[in-house]
Structures are given as structure tokens and as C-alpha cells.
Symmetry: D2
Amino acid sequence: MTHAHAMLQTHPRASALEEGPLLACIEACFDCAQSCTACADACLGEGDVEMVIRCIRLCEDCADICLATGRIVTRQTELEPAPVRAVLQACAEACRACAQECERHAGHHEHCRVCAEACRRCEEACEEALTSLA
Amino acid sequence: MTHAHAMLQTHPRASALEEGPLLACIEACFDCAQSCTACADACLGEGDVEMVIRCIRLCEDCADICLATGRIVTRQTELEPAPVRAVLQACAEACRACAQECERHAGHHEHCRVCAEACRRCEEACEEALTSLA
Amino acid sequence: MTHAHAMLQTHPRASALEEGPLLACIEACFDCAQSCTACADACLGEGDVEMVIRCIRLCEDCADICLATGRIVTRQTELEPAPVRAVLQACAEACRACAQECERHAGHHEHCRVCAEACRRCEEACEEALTSLA
Amino acid sequence: MTHAHAMLQTHPRASALEEGPLLACIEACFDCAQSCTACADACLGEGDVEMVIRCIRLCEDCADICLATGRIVTRQTELEPAPVRAVLQACAEACRACAQECERHAGHHEHCRVCAEACRRCEEACEEALTSLA
């Protein structure tokens, strides 16, 4: 069992979301934040950096919103649905934009291919958490 | 001139937003993140902490999303409107929820009164940035 | 292979650290940030919240420094040793302080026991990354 | 009075640091995080981006550690000196490294000149907070 899973199971309060989609969303957000931070940095280290300016920018934004979302969905105490829903929507939107850009570079930059995969998984996990929260 | 203002004026690319609402939004996001971090901690230091559990939780969420939003709106290079719009909406929503809760404690906790003020200013600044972006 | 591992292997530049300790450190930092965010929130949801004020505070600090460290050690391009070393030391220190406090509550709060474990693993991973960087 | 100042004055617990250096440090950390985020993005938008790769990387690191430090020094409840001291040292180190690099570009990129100024102020503010904490 991952620490994230154990932390969820030992929380004293019931969650407003089902455990499966919630755990998947928590883990995908932190994972995607790490991949996007790594992809922005890997792009910066490429010889053709001027071709991946947009990729770096979208990765930076995606990492920031994924970290905020990962922390927010981690919290179960006194959950207020409206802001949690809005942040999940923003995270899905940022993941979608970042995935689309990374996919354009996936053929020549392997890190963009991996990052796009992490973004697509996080986008889906946020959408499923939204369904579970609704 | 603040550093935030000077950084905006010296950016090599034109922004998609008008300077006034953009600068106000950047500054309000970082300011609100700081106030919410302080309010959560001040609540934690109060004798009646069990009365402000919800306030602490909403302040923590608001700080996280304000920091992410502050960094995202700071960036002008290759701005993609859809995720920026979504993150501004999420930030306004989190500020609104946090302000409402802080206002309930404003009569007996002065830090909640100040924090509510920072949240309301940030909520408005995000709404105005949204109008400017549209 | 985790996304973090794949991102490290596809980076265009050589890292200043050995792959094993570096990957362990990256993954431990994000994992510990998540556990500490969860533990602070779980403590907040406990009936005896006034007994875990110090635990909440140390968890919040530990989460913040773990996230910053996780992002910083993720970056391989143009690594400057002095600040990376200092941030790894700060992260190890925060993990140690948080683990000590969580261990005091591990007998009655299972989430504190799990969080202490995540903190100890991250403390060790930062120490090993420091040895690898030196 | 800034919100940060008002939040400090309305905190229910006494701080371990003197108010002057503490407030200066809190404000400098958030200010420097914003400037570094802006400078990394402005560098990314320059025509000669391949000349400022190192500047972007050091700005990203500096922004991350400044945000963590800003949040940590904002908290007064149950302050544990060892990790706070370590994080202030890490922040000062990151600001110094970033300022040195930004100063190299200050002649041709005005945003680097402004950012170096924000970094130097934050470096000093962290050093003074360390003296006050000792």
C-alpha cells in the first residue's frame, strides 16, 4: 500500500468522494507535477530550446496547478465542494493544454512523450474525481 | 514602483491582459496566499481552535490555489487562455469560500477580519482579470 | 518504471548525482509532502485537535519544504551545488523534526505513524542525496 | 499597513523573532518568489533564450525555495528553530546564486537587473532573520 493510500484509510473523517477515484486523483496530481517540472527542465537542457518555449511554459503552469490540486484533494476535513470542483476543472484544463503541446514533441523528445502520458492520466483522474464529487 | 510592476514593464512580450488588472491580480494572489497561511496558523494558535477547524482548512486551500494562480498569471510568454481562465475561476471560488468563513469569525478574531479583506480583494482581482482576458 | 524514473532517464543532460539516490530523493520528497499535507488535515479532523497543534504546524512546514526540494532535485539542467545542498539539508532537518513529533502520536493516531515513516524515509533519502552530491 | 504586517500584529502567540526583521523577511520572500517566476518567464520570452538557460534554472529554484520559506516564516505557532534556521540558510543561498547569475545579464536584460535586486533584498532579509532567530 502506498503512503497516500494509507493516509487516506487512516483519516478520521469520511471523504465526500469515493476512495478509488480520490486516491487515483491524489497520486496523479503529484506524479504529473513532478513530470511537468522534469519536462520543463529537460526542454531547457535541449539543444533546440527555442522550439519548446511553449512546452516549457505550459509545463510550468501545469506543475503549479497540479501541486495545488494535489494538496487540496488530499484534505478531507470540512471539504467545501465549490472550490474543490473549480480547482479540479482548472487542473484538468491545464493537463489537457500541456498534454496537447507535449504530444507535438513526443516524436523527437522522449521526455515530452512520457510527460504527455502523465498529463493525460491526471486529466482523466481529475475528470473522474469531478464525477465522484458531483 | 513595486518589483512586480517593474517585472511586468520589462517583460519582452506583450501580455494578453491589460496591465492594471493584471498587476492587481498578481499582487493580490501573493498577498492573499500570505494572509491565508498566516490566518490558518493564527487560528491554530487560538485557545478555541476547535471552533475554527473549517477556517483553517479553507485558508490552507486558498493559500495553495492563490500561490499557483499568482505564479501562472505572472507568466506572459505563450499564454494559453483556457487554463489561465479556469485557474482564475478556481482562485476566485476559493477566495469567496474562505472570505465567507473568515467573516463569520471576524468579530472575535482580528486576523480573520484582515484575512477576509485580503480574500475579498483577491476574489475581485481575479474576476477583473477574467474580464480583461475574455 | 515510474514516470519520475522515465523522466530522469530521458533527460538530455547528465545529472551531478548518481541515479539511484537521486530518484529515491525525488520520489521521497513528493511522497512526504503528500503524507504531511494529509497528516496535518487528519490531525485537524481529530476530536483532540488541541493535542496535535505542534504536529499540524511541523507537518505544514515539512510539506512546504519537501515540495520545494522535490522540484529542485527534479531539475538537472545547470545545477548549482551550493543551493541544492542547502535545500537538501533544510529538507532533512524539517523531516527529522516532523518525524519526531509524529512519532509521539503514533500510538494513538495511525496517520501520525504512517506520516512519521514517510518523513524518516525522506530524511534518509535527502542525506543520501547529499552524500552523492558531495 | 500591509496585510502581512496586520496579520503579524493580530497573531495570538508571540513570535520567536523580532517583528521588524521577521516582517521584512516574510515580505521579501513572497516578493522574490514573484520576481524570480517573472524573470524565468521573461528570459523564456527573449530572442536569445539559449544565453539565459542558467538564469531560468536558478530563478525557478529560487522561486520554489522563497515560497516555501515565505510560508514557513509566516507561521508563529509552535516554531521549532532548527528547521526554520536551515530553511532560511537555504533561501539565502538560493537568492545569492540567483542574484549572481541575474547580475551577469543585468546590462542587457532589465528584468534580470530588477530580479537581482529582489534576490539581494531577500538574501539580506533571510540573513537578518537568522540573526534575530539565533
